[in-house]
């Protein structure tokens, strides 16, 4: 291990504008803000001591509480930025005082929380991802073999899922590498789903990611959000933050009774190295007539064992679901069938149906038979276009990694 000053000096040099980092941060509570600045100044003067450690802990914990007051979308941007800046400061303070592997892990977790819950500051918008990469490289000696040799999935998980061929419903049409023009004319403009083949086979991810040791090497030490429970509409569903290696060990390779799913997480922005393994499909640069809004693209990772389920629901955006490895079964309904799909009354689940389309309870939901079901078996290297507001239910038939693109 390198001497103490080394890693904290490396992080020090990563900051583009140290003065802005310390002095542009704002917070509604001036006393806590002063505590942040006091620690920042001590860091710049290289005079960090144990008191500063307690101070920055309390600042991060205080802002962490503020981030949980009110709905996430109503939390002021300045509070999220303050969390970003103070997470960095906490990591460097910890590393200035100690550089044991345990502290490196604590600092990395702190940076990941800053990435997950904070908002980048303008003067240094890649600071936390760069700093996390830097610490991760020192930690990379994670014992991948220890995790991977524990392949003890003895029990086969019964999916209770009928074979694709005997499932009701019309199969979604497939096109091999359609031109952008064809995609727009036949599918995007008239909002019809389509399975696109042969368009992502060149992604490095297609051959790199199936090897879980590759993912663990890059991301094993990183903290990620994991959904626990079979589907988000269930009562006992919850979300936990844990190192990716723990997720892989317990839920992905292990034979845990409960399903764990790294779902709808912006993993590729958290760990930009993984972003190099994919390419953004040209199909998701299209935009609709009369839509003046600036185009936005959101990329999410979906990584999990066999049996992960996304309940029947719809999203407001255009969606391309790209299957990197594993097979997923997708059931679709057009927005016109909404009246037959028994939407949840709870305001938080108002885009979610109560029906399980694989095994519908027709006594409880008799109208469901009137809905026109579509089905798609999505295999490695294929992409499914799901138009806005189309209902979809997704189940992983085996271990799976998907990336989806939402755009407007």
């Amino acid at each position: 291990m390198e001497p103490i000053s080394d890693i904290s000096y490396k992080l020090f040099t990563l900051v583009k504008d140290r003065d802005k980092l310390i002095n542009s941060t704002q917070l509604h509570n001036p006393i806590v803000l002063n505590t942040f600045k006091e620690v920042g100044e001590a860091w710049l003067k290289n005079s960090i001591n144990e008191t500063h450690k307690l101070m920055i802990h309390s600042v991060v914990d205080y802002i962490h509480e503020q981030l949980h007051i009110g709905h996430w979308s109503s939390v002021p941007l300045l509070t999220k930025k303050a969390f970003y800046a103070s997470s960095f400061l906490k990591a460097v303070v910890l590393l200035q005082l100690d550089n044991s592997a345990e502290t490196l892990r604590e600092a990395l977790k702190c940076l990941d929380l800053g990435i997950l819950l904070g908002a980048p500051i303008e003067s240094d918008n890649e600071l936390l991802t760069d700093a996390a990469k830097c610490i991760n490289e020192k930690l990379r000696v994670i014992d991948v073999n220890e995790i991977v040799t524990e392949r003890n999935q003895k029990r086969k998980r019964d999916l209770n899922c009928p074979k694709f061929d005997v499932l009701n419903g019309v199969e979604v049409v497939s096109r091999s590498l359609p031109t952008l023009e064809l995609f727009m004319k036949e599918f995007y403009n008239c909002q019809v789903p389509v399975k696109i083949q042969d368009s992502i086979n060149h992604w490095p991810a297609i051959h790199k990611w199936p090897d879980v040791t590759y993912i663990l090497g890059i991301a094993g030490n990183r903290t990620v959000p994991i959904e626990i429970g079979s589907q988000y509409s269930d009562e006992n569903w919850s979300q936990k933050l844990m190192p990716l290696s723990e997720f892989v060990k317990t839920y992905y390779l292990g034979d845990c009774d409960t399903i764990g799913y790294l779902a709808q997480h912006n993993l590729l922005d958290q760990i930009p190295e993984l972003k190099n393994d994919i390419c953004i499909p040209e199909y998701c640069v299209t935009s609709r007539d009369g839509c003046d809004e600036e185009a936005t693209l959101e990329i999410n990772a979906w990584f999990g064992p066999k049996g992960t389920i996304s309940s029947l629901h719809f999203d407001p955006k255009d969606n391309l679901l790209a299957q990197v490895y594993g097979t997923k079964l997708v059931i679709l309904f057009s927005p016109q069938d909404t009246q037959y799909l028994y939407t949840h009354s709870d305001q938080m689940l108002c885009n979610t149906s109560q029906v399980n389309p694989i095994k519908p309870d027709l006594e409880q939901f008799p109208e469901f038979t009137k809905a026109k079901m579509m089905k798609c078996l999505l295999e490695a290297g294929e992409m499914l276009y799901i138009p806005p507001k189309w209902w979809h239910y997704v189940v992983a038939l085996e271990k799976s990694f998907s990336v989806n693109f939402w755009w407007t």
């Binding site: 509570n29 008191t51 307690l54 919850s238 709870d346």
Partner: protein, 322 residues
Amino acid sequence: MKVWYSGFNLYNQFHISREHIVNDFSVFKYGTIQNLVFSHTYIAAQNANTITFYGRVSSNLSIQEVRNISQIAAVDNITYILYNDGTIKKVDTASGEITDVPNFLQTENPGTSDYITKIACGSKMNVAVSYNNDVYNIPNKIEYNGKRVKDVASGHEHCLILDNYGNVYSFGNGLRGQLGHGALENLMNPTLIDALAGVKINKIAAGGWHSCAVSDSGDLYTWGWNRNGQLAVPTRDPSVFATPQLINFQNDDYNVNNVACGSNHTVILVGSQVYGAGWNKYKQLGSISNENIYEFKLLKNFCFDEILSVTCGPWCTAVITK
């Protein structure tokens, strides 16, 4: 009056201790005090018409009033002062600026007079109750149909009301189950918690995102966010309980006398013993080493002192004895 303190002390708010974290219920004798409130960065003590601040506040901030003070409340760097005549002042303890809270009373019958008798403050909402039993989410009057308000408690973004008949009402943000109605919905107006109907409640307390109630027969109910064990329920999953949970401990043979909540911790008084559960990173639960405590643990036995009350700041606990 003695105050036994444990918890966060970075700003020397518990001024007799030089430690940044007080972990042993250190004691200080305050003299006579009517109101003692705890914020993140200071403690405010009110005696008659004087308020003294301890901790990090604007230099020379001290308040000496002509009018009689009825209550004080603190959240972050703001302290609210409620006077006997029902008017409210707002003190920015960081800048020292003191302003009047504009009158927000809405009396339905002209000519009848009304005034504020009680306030409760949270990060997102400040609640006031009037002599005529109207309830305000300051400055708006809200619809309250319960009996006379006995007590009101605010969390970060929710509020509990206890009426004279022992009914509990809740409103505000319910995303973490803190309203106790089963759903995670937000409610504008105080709504009776059905799950506690039929149980006469004597005491209520609101934490950051959790709620507690003690019944006439000494049973404790908790609900809301259990991230750090603050609900003292026997399981760690799920992290949210959206209906009141009856807490069993010590083989059920106990009588809870009082309850208080910090941001993420809960303390109860059982006879002369103080128990606590929840977040303990800043030793808000005393000398126990764990960062989170998932079931009630004995914090201290006060068999030689008469306990007047237990109270919490966001990250601290204080026991007040004679």
